[in-house]
């Protein structure tokens, strides 16, 4: 039963998540709310681990979520089912790439789905901000640290490894100095 649900949910992510790795987050967030497979807190760890390990982030997160749900079998099912729609779609349109790209309906759908995906990810981000930051470890040092990171991200696009590396060091220091 759980395997079937896992298959169905991740198949849907493969079909409906537009916009790359982070676009799967709203779906993973919804899963955390619907089933007791993993908590919203664990989702933040999942993002961190997926961003520092080799491979596409979307695949890493699917494997991780599947693993949290039901171990090795779960991770295999989640990974296979998120990939399956890609295989079918891409093989189908391989024969008519140019036609697909220039089709007015395709263009219009992309025009809608891009800001829509941005809205969904923002909603997850705001929820995570409330859940992980405002309601937990709110103190002046954390606020300053987050503000600096966000300021840096506005100036320059950096590799996720940078943010997470700096943040890990910050966590260790904060723990040693007892202000986290």
């Amino acid at each position: 039963m759980i395997f079937w649900q896992l298959f169905w949910n991740f198949l849907n992510i493969g079909i409906f998540a537009f916009g790359g790795g982070y676009a799967t987050l709203p779906f993973l967030y919804h899963i955390s709310e619907t089933y007791n497979w993993y908590t919203f807190d664990e989702l933040s760890n999942m993002i961190a681990v997926s961003s520092i390990t080799p491979g596409p982030i979307g695949i890493n997160m699917a494997t991780y979520a599947g693993f949290k749900t039901s171990g090795l079998t779960g991770s295999i099912i989640a990974t296979v089912s998120i990939v399956l729609p890609s295989l079918i779609f891409a093989v189908l349109i391989s024969k008519a790439l140019k036609k697909f790209r220039e089709n007015i309906y395709v263009k219009s759908i992309i025009y809608v789905l891009k800001p829509l995906g941005c809205g969904l990810l923002s909603a997850v981000g705001v929820n995570m901000f409330i859940n992980d930051f405002l309601s937990k470890n709110i103190n002046i040092y954390n606020i300053i640290f987050l503000t600096i990171l966000i300021f840096i991200s506005l100036r320059k696009r950096l590799n996720p490894l940078f943010y997470l590396g700096v943040a890990a060091i910050y966590g260790v220091l904060a723990g040693m100095l007892h202000f986290i």
Binding site: H30, A48, L116, L164
Partner: protein
């Protein structure tokens, strides 16, 4: 001319998958050096086109690109070899790390790291949203769509699939209007 074997495709994508660290931004140069330079039937332009189309398809972008390249090299079998190669390093590293993490997550030192990393993740999400924003909010209509989907998820907790399906329907309607307009001109 490199001999196209499924094993070769698998190994090349395994290598690309391993080097994909911290997001898909580096995939294009990797594909150019690992694929376009090695196989005669795929050029730099092909690779760029595959990557561009992959972004407008659902699912994981790197996987979509792998399917296109693999399919071009050796049909469905090639696509399967490419996907498997791309997925293997991601899968193995997560399994190893997830196992390790469940064992050490209760150590105070590790908990401190994750508390810090939690803040890093917020900055990471902010950057991701910012990147998407620049590419997607091109006019007032796009901004309204952004607001609608944001509100639907955060305030009404609408199932994301329903939000995306509504978006696809809206896209079809806009496409219909645009094509009618095109026909009139």
């Amino acid at each position: 001319m490199t001999n196209i074997s499924l094993k070769d495709i698998y190994i090349r994508f395994f290598r690309i998958g391993t080097l994909l660290l911290g997001g898909g931004y580096v995939i294009l140069p990797l594909l150019q050096s690992e694929i376009a330079e090695k196989y005669d039937c795929i050029t730099d332009d092909n690779v760029c086109e595959y990557y561009a189309i992959s972004q407008s398809l659902p699912g994981v972008i790197a996987i979509n690109t792998a399917v296109f390249v693999g399919y071009k090299l050796a049909r469905t079998k090639g696509a399967l070899a490419a996907i498997t190669g791309m997925v293997t390093p991601a899968f193995l590293s997560i399994i190893l790390l997830a196992n390790l993490l469940t064992q050490i997550v209760h150590v105070p030192f590790v908990q401190n790291i994750f508390l810090g990393v939690g803040i890093g993740v917020l900055a990471l999400l902010f950057q991701a949203v910012n990147e998407m924003w620049k590419k997607s909010i091109v006019d007032k209509g796009a901004f309204l769509i952004f607001l609608a989907s944001f509100t639907a998820l955060i305030a009404f907790k609408v199932f994301p699939i329903y939000i995306v399906i509504s978006g696809i329907i809206l896209g079809v309607i806009i496409g219909f209007i645009r094509s009618r307009r095109g026909a009139e001109k």
